[in-house]
Symmetry: C2
Subunit: 393 residues, 2 copies
């Protein structure tokens, strides 16, 4: 008889390979102009052809990663290559900064106004270089990585609308993504550089962004880590906090840092207790740490990535600590997530539900949702449950 | 026996004077530092003290307007003055552009990244100059008005993130607000300048932004008025369309332009038929003209100003045309709006409801909702119903 862990490993692997990946293989690849269509409705119909750089790069990363880690399928490499070549040709301005969006043909639409396009480019081209063995891809990865390092103190550059000095603030997204990205790029970096960056980012996340009183992750704090009483300063983004914590666990497990692993699990549990909707289930998208009205009108919606990142964090935390609360929360989150977001009929998952868990937008992809969180979480949960079923820690 | 029109005139006047204005008089004025608190919860408790320039200027405008048009109450002028003096001192950068937000004390937080702060400043200081007789207020109004004229071709200036040339686009908000603003400033402008601006803006709105096939108002079009097949190009903002149409009617009635009045009423009726939620009632906040998923996650929420602008437009359209559809829609909108947004217990109206019409945010004011749409609509509807009850056209 199969164990529960074996069953779950199979569920995640099957869904990845039979439901999620086919949806993107069949509907998203623009073989004619290069790159990918991401604006796909429930059934896969293309409703917009603009190309958003975050999502283009994430899809290159995803297919390269599957090729590198799961199965050397030529078709996956060809799909990755179709995006990588399009992006190498059209994705950057003359200074090498990554645009935010392009037309279908590759003409720039929106300027490089933040560094996350560069982050995802570094991740994408690093995985693609590994998959393809192409040196030009490695060069692009390193260039994008250096952009991130150069721009991280002022990620929006000249598009920053804050008046200098009045209320300086830093965002959780920056150290978080830098940690994850540096791990991704490990094979291209000096090992002491890597360890330095990982140490610094984890320290920043756990010391500066963690509200020590309530054990919650704040989205924005002052440069010295003190709290700011403003809309931005009071903001809690539960999904982001969960993602940050599994990044931290992922880093901690490299050196068997059980203290950090347990501390990160504590924070995850605090977030879940704070952000779980007692009435309708699921995690809220945005909250004010003091219970004031948040400025985000979508605050009580249930988003796919928030729940998927939570599943990854919980199974990872459970495998490494064996803590009962992790498993109880995993099962609760599993039931909600699989019953509300998945779509057995058309493939891929819904992205946006209202507070009650009803489908809010009739889409599988758009400006912000592409081929990334669902397959990444499927792959990671498959790996975690596989290890659990084999008693591998 | 009172007529229905007399009853409605009384309802709007009473709500304005006994429910709405007292809420702001009691809770919002920062007598200590100047300006107003706008982040007020259901009962009027202050939950944030930042000062958002749009809302600060709109409140100066509102109290000055009531003083000028409804009743010469010293207290109203004093409240207007408390905002005007604070804004005159802290609201602008060295070039005279209006910031987006300030701290409670008046230190700049967010740069002048769009021209709407300047628009609302021009409106505010023009009304306040009329109310107070102060020449310095008139100068500030004219300076802000000139900023708008100077910056209207590139409203976001250096903060514009669009790549030049790929997909040029213009926004309905610009001509719309310019028309309304110029009417407000009529007493300060040369009359031929005024007529020129009004003609040009109305032509632009009705020729370029009106989708001739479906008779709906588009939010963004190409500079020549052609439609763009992108998220921005397909966007319908029903409340904005309704507001644009009553601005057009307001301008048209000055010259008894019945053709423009009837055309604007037609557009209002098209918008209402397109955007009315058949299942739960109320108007959607954002829609895609082709029925695709819009990018705004809040698309199906019901917002106070959308419904209030519709009430104003419908009663105005009815008074000037006597068309039956206007009255039927007025009654339908009235029933929905008064039963869902008003708060007899605490004063002022709720701002944000979910699709089902349940309160989504426990606030009466925030970053975008202040002392403006509710009292303005109450005043305008009171005026319209008063005229109707007196048979004044």
């Amino acid at each position: 008889m199969k164990s529960r862990f074996e069953e779950l490993a199979e569920l995640y692997k099957d869904t990845l390979l039979k439901n999620v990946i086919p949806f993107w293989e069949q509907n998203s690849v623009d073989w004619e102009k290069g790159g990918y269509f991401t604006c796909l409705d429930r059934s896969g119909r293309i409703y917009d052809t603009d190309k958003f750089i975050w999502l283009q790069n994430r899809q290159v990363w995803l297919f390269s990663m599957l090729y590198n880690k799961l199965d050397k399928r030529d078709h996956w490499l060809k799909i990755a290559s179709n995006g990588a070549k399009f992006l190498a040709q059209h994705g950057r301005d003359l200074d090498g900064n990554w645009y935010f969006s392009l037309t279908r043909e590759g003409n720039p639409l929106v300027q490089p106004y933040n560094i996350f396009s560069d982050c995802f480019a570094a991740m994408a081209f690093s995985q693609y270089a590994l998959a393809s063995g192409e040196d030009w891809a490695k060069d692009i990865a390193l260039q994008a990585y250096n952009n991130v390092l150069r721009r991280k103190e002022n990620p929006k550059g000249k598009y920053n609308k804050s008046y200098p000095g009045t209320r300086p603030m830093k965002a959780l997204a920056v150290p978080m993504i830098l940690a994850n990205l540096s791990l991704e790029m490990a094979w291209l970096l000096q090992s002491d550089t890597l360890e330095e960056i990982l140490d610094a980012t984890i320290t920043e996340v756990m010391d500066d962004f963690l509200d020590s009183e309530r054990g919650l992750m704040l989205e924005n704090v002052a440069p010295d880590g003190s709290q700011i009483n403003s809309f931005e300063g009071r903001l809690i983004n539960p999904g982001h906090g969960m993602e940050a914590m599994w990044f931290a666990i992922d880093i901690a497990q490299r050196s068997n840092n059980n203290k950090l692993i347990n501390r990160s699990v504590d924070v995850m549990l605090n977030i879940l207790n704070f952000a779980w909707d007692q009435e309708y289930g699921g995690l809220y998208y945005f909250m004010d740490i003091n219970g004031n009205p948040p400025q985000q009108l979508e605050w009580n919606q249930k988003l796919w990535w928030v729940h998927l990142e939570s599943l990854v964090g919980l199974v990872m935390g459970y495998r490494l600590t064996g803590r009962k609360e992790c498993w109880e929360w995993y099962e609760k989150m599993h039931d909600y997530t699989w019953s509300h977001f998945s779509d057995a009929e058309n493939g891929e998952w819904f992205g946006y539900l209202n507070r009650r868990g009803e489908v809010l937008l009739n889409l599988k992809g758009g400006k912000w949702k592409g081929c990334f969180h669902v397959p990444r979480a499927m792959y990671l949960c498959f790996q975690e449950f596989h290890k659990l079923s084999q008693n591998l820690n």
